[in-house]
Symmetry: C2
Subunit: 140 residues, 2 copies
DNA sequence: TGTCATTGGTTCGACATCGTACTATATGGT
DNA sequence: ACCATATAGTACGATGTCGAACCAATGACA
């Protein structure tokens, strides 16, 4: 069990480094992740919603969103339903940035893929999701 | 595939937080990991060897070892075979600190364990090790 | 309507992590 | 023996991440 978490930690570290080596200068994995999230889950989300989705504190998300806005990849608008809140939208630059990043990373990831059995990946993913839910519950 | 790395990243984050919440004040996961490594792999390792084992840059390891030495959990001795190098040894305090941490974390991790099938854990672990090796190779 | 607790977001300070540059020792080739 | 190159460890600066404190807007409730 310790070993499992250990392996997970190291892979997380390696995959992050792998990713960031293929992103421009100061961009970091969470930047890409947020763009991706907005495409998949939908735009117009609030910062807290996004922070919860990634299980990070909201001030960290403020920081990440700040970087994305400064680079013109997202647009921040007020939330018409709540005066305290904001909503996050992709710009055209943000959308195309995500696409290019996926191509670039995907290309370099190619050589690794044939080595892994698709079914095994799916089973592992299922187990990890289960594990994550378990850990969420243990957080009280 | 992206989703797999995403899940791994979040679990890594959660498990780290879980761990560190059960360590004293300023201690952090790498501190424990290094102590554990020394017990399992053996004492007398050099900082670079340890850094490589954890896939972190050597200056990060310098920092981590500094923290452990300051707390009296390890002892640093010169390397008789190489004047540039040092060797790292556990103190009694370090050894017992590790034991206590394992007990404390293990106790709180108990409620999660019955939820997971041991065979599934083993299979996942096998796959992740394979994946890690693949990624190591891709690092050139 | 007035008051209090809750929630969204930011600011600030602390710290881990990392790239780069640097010193000191070791190693290999001539 | 001498010099070039590689390697071990450290120092420094930049930055991501986070907890705590804070402000503003909302909601609950008398």
């Amino acid at each position: 069990m310790f070993e499992l978490f250990n392996e997970i930690g190291i892979i997380s570290q390696l995959s992050r480094a792998f990713f960031e080596a293929r992103l421009p200068d100061g961009m970091v994995l969470p930047h890409f992740s947020v763009l991706n999230h907005l495409v998949r889950v939908g735009e117009g989300r609030t910062p807290v919603q996004i922070a919860r989705a990634f299980q990070v504190p909201k001030n960290s998300m403020t920081h990440t969103l700040g970087g994305l806005e400064m680079r013109g990849l997202i647009e921040v608008r007020p939330n018409p339903k709540d005066g305290r809140s904001k909503t996050i939208w992709l710009t055209e630059a943000g959308r195309s940035f995500r696409e290019e990043a996926i191509v670039r990373v995907g290309r370099d990831m190619m050589p690794m893929l044939p080595e892994m059995d698709a079914e095994e990946v799916a089973r592992t993913l299922g187990f990890l999701k289960h594990l994550r839910e378990e850990m969420d519950r243990a957080r009280d």
